[in-house]
């Protein structure tokens, strides 16, 4: 078991969804399934789904959060969520 400290996730990098991940929007947010790891992640808000979907197009994760309407006070919570997704390899750093 590993514990990700939300503060160590770099919001100011470029990120993207792993290409082996399938997204399924739901009423409560979304389901993410990673075909490689066979792990299922539940995103518990539509706003987080918007952040994740915006990652590939935005220069940084922070920009994706802003674009999705995440307010400053909420950023730590979203950073923690993104850290969890990175730890389970749902999202990964983008080279470009």
């Amino acid at each position: 078991m590993s514990t990700e400290d939300g503060r160590s996730f770099d919001l100011d990098r470029a990120w993207r969804l792993d290409e082996r991940v399938s997204i399924r929007p739901e009423r409560f947010g979304a389901l993410l399934y990673h075909f490689g790891t066979r792990r299922l992640s539940f995103l518990k808000s539509r706003q987080l789904l918007d952040v994740v979907r915006g990652l590939a197009e935005q220069p940084t994760a922070r920009a994706a959060c802003v674009q999705a309407g995440v307010r400053d006070a909420e950023l730590p919570r979203y950073r923690a969520a993104l850290a969890a997704l990175a730890a389970s390899r749902m999202i990964r750093p983008r080279s470009a």
């Binding site: 078991m1 590993s2 514990t3 990700e4 400290d5 939300g6 503060r7 409560f28 399934y33 790891t37 066979r38 792990r39 299922l40 992640s41 539940f42 995103l43 518990k44 808000s45 539509r46 706003q47 987080l48 309407g69 307010r71 006070a73 909420e74 730590p76 919570r77 979203y78 950073r79 923690a80 969520a81 850290a83 969890a84 997704l85 730890a87 389970s88």
Partner: protein, 49 residues
């Protein structure tokens, strides 16, 4: 092939942000840490043999 990494995502901020777009049933004031992500193995659902 499978890595069973249990992930804990903790909200560092102790304030309770109102997340626009979520309906009231998704806010539970009695939880100290509200996780926006939860993870489980695809094997973690009963009814599949």
């Amino acid at each position: 092939m499978d890595e069973h990494v249990a992930v804990v995502a903790e909200a560092v901020d102790s304030t309770r942000p109102q997340v626009p777009g979520q309906d009231a049933t998704e806010r539970e004031p009695e939880l100290v840490d509200e996780l926006l992500v939860e993870e489980v193995s695809i094997d973690g659902m009963c009814g599949v043999y």
